[in-house]
């Protein structure tokens, strides 16, 4: 079963040799026009990031003209305790929110794909609501709710809200992934004597995985970057990175803001790569 999926995923390299000689028509990544399109796309994605990284080394108080190279804004950002706290808060919230919303959202996406139940269309519309609702409206509603329930604002309320608005994003992606799943794979697995639990983990789950990863990335990105809802649900001591940035930027974007953002990208990237490496190593050890 797994083998069949593997073949599908790696069809290109294992294609018949004759075809490879005249270049595999599905090996898009080696086609010139595709490379040009992708290069253009990545330029579009990274041009602004390069601009902001470049300015973080600019020896001027503002991001207007290049005045020379300096590392002093990194030093300044490094010594800015408030920035550290904001960073830690953001990471804590984003991690918990991603874990919880990915779990719940995946289960939801799977259930909507799998089950038919009365009022499904309505339910489907309902879970899209958090995506549809304007952020500020959701922020205000959360604030009103927590105030009415006498729940003190802080990391807890921010995380709760982030999970709420991330779940639908994960569910939408997982469900889109599952929509083409062929249930005969599962049947074949059970026919071959695997129990349901094994079938789920060995057949369904691996198939679903890219959707889960994509959903988790969306959830993490949403949480890391959210300002509006976070602002309304934050309390004393729960200033996050975006809140800090928004208040800093009121007085214009200084290279310090850029330095802090650059550091944030580097740290997040390092953490993610580490996590991915550990995960793929342990996956290999388990022989998956």
């Amino acid at each position: 079963m797994n083998a069949k999926l593997e073949t599908a995923a790696t069809a290109a390299p294992t294609a018949p040799i004759k075809r490879r000689e005249r270049r595999n028509p599905l090996d898009y990544s080696s086609m010139r026009w595709m490379q040009i399109v992708l290069a253009g796309n990545f330029m579009f994605l990274y041009f602004p990031i390069l601009a902001l990284v470049a300015f973080s080394f600019n020896d001027s108080k503002r991001n207007i003209t290049w005045q020379g190279f300096t590392l002093k804004y990194y030093e300044k950002a490094w010594n800015n305790i408030a920035l550290h706290d904001a960073f830690m808060n953001t990471m804590t919230i984003a991690t918990i929110s991603t874990l919880v919303s990915t779990t719940f959202g995946t289960m939801l996406g799977l259930a909507i794909y799998r089950y038919k139940f009365p009022g499904k269309a309505l339910y489907d519309g309902w879970i899209h609501l958090p995506i549809v609702i304007p952020e500020i409206c959701m922020g205000v509603s959360m604030l009103a709710f927590f105030a009415a329930m006498n729940i003190p604002l802080g990391i807890f309320t921010i995380t709760v809200s982030h999970i709420a608005f991330s779940i639908p994003f994960v569910a939408v992606v997982v469900r889109a992934r599952m929509s083409g799943f062929d249930p005969s794979f599962e049947e074949a697995s059970t026919d071959l004597g695997a129990n349901q639990w094994q079938t789920f983990w060995n057949v369904t789950f691996p198939y679903m995985m890219p959707g889960v990863v994509a959903g988790a990335l969306l959830a993490f990105t949403l949480s890391l970057d959210d300002f509006v809802i976070t602002f309304f649900t934050s309390g004393p001591g729960s200033t996050t990175f975006p809140i800090k940035i928004y208040s800093m930027v009121r007085f214009s974007v200084t290279p310090e803001v850029n330095a802090a953002s650059t550091a944030l990208i580097v740290i997040t990237l390092t953490l993610t790569i580490t996590a991915m490496t550990i995960q793929s190593r342990s996956a290999r050890r388990q022989g998956k």
Binding site: F232, G237, T239, M248
Partner: protein, 363 residues
Amino acid sequence: MIKMGRSTLSGVTRRNFLMGSAAVGVSLVAGAGRGQAAEEKRVNVYNWDTYIGEQTLGTFNARTGIQVQYDLFANNEELYAKLKEGNPGYDVIFPSDYMVELMITTGVIVPLDHSKLPNLKNIHKNFQNQAYDPGMKYSAPYMWGTMGFGYRKSKFDKAPDSWGAVYDPAQASKYSGKIALLGDQRVVIGSALKYLGYSMNSTDEKQIAAARDLVIAAKKHIKSFAEDNGQDLLLSKEVDIAMEWNGDIVQVMEEDSDLSYVVPKEGSNVWSDNLCIPKDAPHPENAHAFINHVLDAKVNAEIANTIHYATANAAAKPMLLQEDLDNPAVYPPEAIVATCEAIVDVGDNTRLYDEAWTAIQAA
């Protein structure tokens, strides 16, 4: 959820952890545990960013042993939205003039105990009886300033000292596409009202409509309603004249000597920020101690010299930087300030401004 509190490495104390876990089940925490007698050595300050001295918090901690938890907001409306449903736990906040008035009428802030604020005597007499809070019952004045034009000197024969520079088509057409106004309904419509000779706080439907039409007519020359970044537009030469708050222009004047600031002669907005204590503050004693500290002449001078804003503190004056005192963008001539008005909350008439502003944007 309890796990969350533990895994939070920094910035979250035991107290927050307790709050978080209490929130899971019961909702009894809000009023409880805030004993009057012995306050914990802590004060939660909610301020604008870069709006305090470099040493203020450190000297406060050294003097009193109280730890400052410092959080940030970006505008008055956010501050109000946050507090109007109940105080999330802040002890000292920094609202502007009209917001103080609004917060008094809606019961968001509580009266100050003057016996705990001996340094209130340092406040300049001009600020002791502001219309929004006569006698400083609820608010201790902090910094003040004006709204006006930042402009590129080399592009102007003389300083654009009238709102006509943007609202008179003959003048504005010379700078077509090189003008930025603020993205703020009250000050933009207010400036047009001033140009027409009315009050910035007009509640007359016809006057506001006239101001609206004036701005709509000027729109073809205006590049952007800048979201409080007009100073950047000036510095990068995107525009030659920008309606802005003085403090923002002061900052870019340090970088580019070709930039200057002027308050139009028809009069403009004068604003002032204040220290207040919100209702249900968990540490009112410490809040008073903090406000009194900020009002100290020496502490206050250090703040003003760091952030280059005009202070409302008369006792601090001898210690202020001469360059700030001489800078008309920081301390404009008194005659000009006399023509300026503070923004006042206009109650139900806010809707007139709201609809005029939406019409301007959609036109």
